[in-house]
Symmetry: C2
DNA sequence: TGTCAACACGAAAACGTTTGCGTTGCGGAT
DNA sequence: ATCCGCAACGCAAACGTTTTCGTGTTGACA
């Protein structure tokens, strides 16, 4: 077992000083040709690599991004991670991942854990519990410590930071308009409780589209489901709820669901009740994942382009980090420092498949 | 912007030495009651938290696990990550993620990047390209540097380390036996090229099950597909390949596919060709993911219990890391050190759904 | 021969911790 | 008055780097 070789060991072995070794390896002109060659050869032979931790300590930057998300077994989130990782890697950063599991306390713990020097900045999507409690002190404290945050998808206005979102509102409007345009008269909405910002916005988009076409929304056509029903254990309950919803509204000819699972389950129920898709009922979901592509019939969805979101978020964060670097040199008035946080909106795309005409 | 406070700052402010502050905060008996109180109060007020990087440098351990996987937008892998994260978190570790994207060079780069002090150990699944090239020097070097590795799912015999695998062989045998037991006479196998170890093992399981029932395997009933067909862009090609396969073998009454996608696609094709499932053709897939649950009909699969694999892998790694700690104290003969690497086998489970009788 | 650059390198600080050991002051025992 | 012990704290090393500021040795030049 040959442990990693350090500058000190090389120095000792070659009977020079540590500083000489360091300089020789960085090709400093201050070191004589002969010594430099000798040191470089030795270092290469022993496969010397500078210790990241020591560098982090010295440079006060870790070249690591902390990702904090509610859940990882989730097509959308993993897509975002991939986007982040690709950009991070390209720009010389690593990513460290924390899962909040939709829990406020885990989110806080994880943040504090990583904020103590482990990372240079955060990219995160807020947990449902946090959204519900509306307690955002951990975000604000982190930012006030000089650690930048980029939020994506589930964001809030209360915290000043860069954000990357999808235009849930507009995406929903387009989806519902598509249903209207293809002849739907009674469009149902299957959504979540309002505290999840994205659910709320999508609901608003649904209403707006109806309004634009002078269609009166009916409360009976809106099904608000508890989030816990999205869990795999409660699939049957979810199915029953939706089935009941169908039986209460026999005129439904279009469905807009705020996520993939609701949409697919609705299709399942519809077929069970002998509706034909898309002839009798058309269905559109939000979030383009694996289910949509492989469902039977395949599902028309509003795609969020998760990977692009991740890439944008990573670029925003790294841009800010490296901008901060420069400002360490030049003195900049703290109050004048870029309070111009950006909110990047990723365009949604309606991916038409078999569940619509 | 109030930057993080350090021991030095506290010491200066309270006019004591750094060591006194450090000791006071760790409740050392050596520090006078009064001073201790004062320091603790001050530290609490300024929300002092020790800097992780400094601790890592001093302790020569980062309390961070490196995960290296081929792909993250993948139900199985993300499940494993969740398992790892849960255990890691519970035991005080963080996880840092690197994606090889099935590329050998990215795998190597990522490893070297993280091996330079950033992590204490690796949990990884080998990329296809690495498997194909059979170049495992980076694993061996990492291990010889004293950084332990735990491999999962895609493992190799050539490297000595802990491993967590699923019994692909046995799982496949059971699946195929189930098909045989329910009356299938002509069972087709849809698999990948042999260099991916799991594909190979699953193929062997298929053959073994047939052999046990004195059924002669027919080459025409085995479809080996190129991996690239699993990509989403090539879904149509995949479908055509499978359709052609069906047309060449009109007697197929059972299908065993080595992954979920192949199985679901096969079902799609079968229905298109007017076969009834499970009456005419029964289908079983490997890897229990989202598709299996929501496919129509829902798919009987061999579940790999990814989360459990992740948990086991994390426990194996951390156990070894913390065992190494103790051995730093007591002197242990290097040659006698535990060469007893474990290979944990996670039992597969046949989850029966609608695609089988 | 004395002066001064240029060259080649070393010492030490700094990043933030922990910890072994040394030091100070003081009270009590002899 | 002397010595010992102990309480309470400081010094400094160590982890592995980079970098600023020396410092010594050359050689050239006047």
């Amino acid at each position: 077992m040959k442990r990693k070789v350090t500058l000190k060991q090389i120095a000792k072995e070659l009977d020079v000083s540590i500083s000489t070794v360091s300089r020789a390896l960085s090709n400093s002109k201050e070191i004589g040709e002969e010594t430099r060659q000798k040191i470089q050869a030795f270092a290469k032979f022993y496969n010397y690599r500078p210790n990241n931790i020591a560098l982090s300590l010295k440079n006060k930057k870790t070249k690591t991004i902390g990702i904090l998300i509610p859940e990882i077994v989730h097509h959308f989130f993993s897509t975002v991670i991939r986007g982040i990782e690709i950009v991070a890697n390209k720009r010389g950063y690593n990513v460290i991942i924390g899962l909040s599991n939709e829990s406020f306390s885990k989110e806080v713990i994880n943040m504090e854990m990583l904020a103590n020097g482990s990372i240079d900045g955060f990219i995160l999507s807020i947990s449902k519990e946090t959204l519900l409690q509306q307690d955002y002190h951990h975000f604000k404290e982190t930012i006030s410590q000089g650690i930048p945050i980029v939020m994506f998808d589930r964001v809030i206005n209360e915290v000043d930071c860069d954000k990357v979102i999808v235009d849930d509102y507009k995406g929903s409007i387009n989806a519902v308009k598509k249903l209207i345009a293809t002849g739907c008269k009674n469009i149902a909405l299957i959504t979540t409780m309002d505290y999840v910002s994205v659910g709320k916005l999508r609901t608003q988009g649904y209403l707006k589209a109806l309004e634009d076409h002078r269609i009166n929304p009916k409360a009976s056509l809106i099904l608000k489901l508890d989030d816990s029903l999205a869990l795999e254990e409660h699939l049957d309950i979810l199915e029953r709820e939706i089935e009941q919803f169908f039986k209460n509204n026999d005129k439904i000819d279009g469905i807009f669901a705020v996520n993939e699972l609701y949409a697919v389950t609705a299709m399942k129920v519809a077929r069970k009740l002998d509706f034909r898709i898309p002839e009798d009922i058309q269905v559109i979901g939000f979030t383009d994942g694996v289910l949509s592509k492989h469902a039977r019939p395949s599902l028309t969805t509003v795609s969020q382009h998760g990977q692009k979101m991740g890439e944008q978020a990573a670029n925003l964060l790294i841009d800010r980090l490296e901008l901060d670097d420069e400002e360490d040199d030049v003195y900049v008035d703290e109050n004048e420092i870029d309070m111009d946080f950006k909110t990047v909106v990723i365009e949604t795309e309606l991916i038409e498949r078999e569940s619509t005409k």
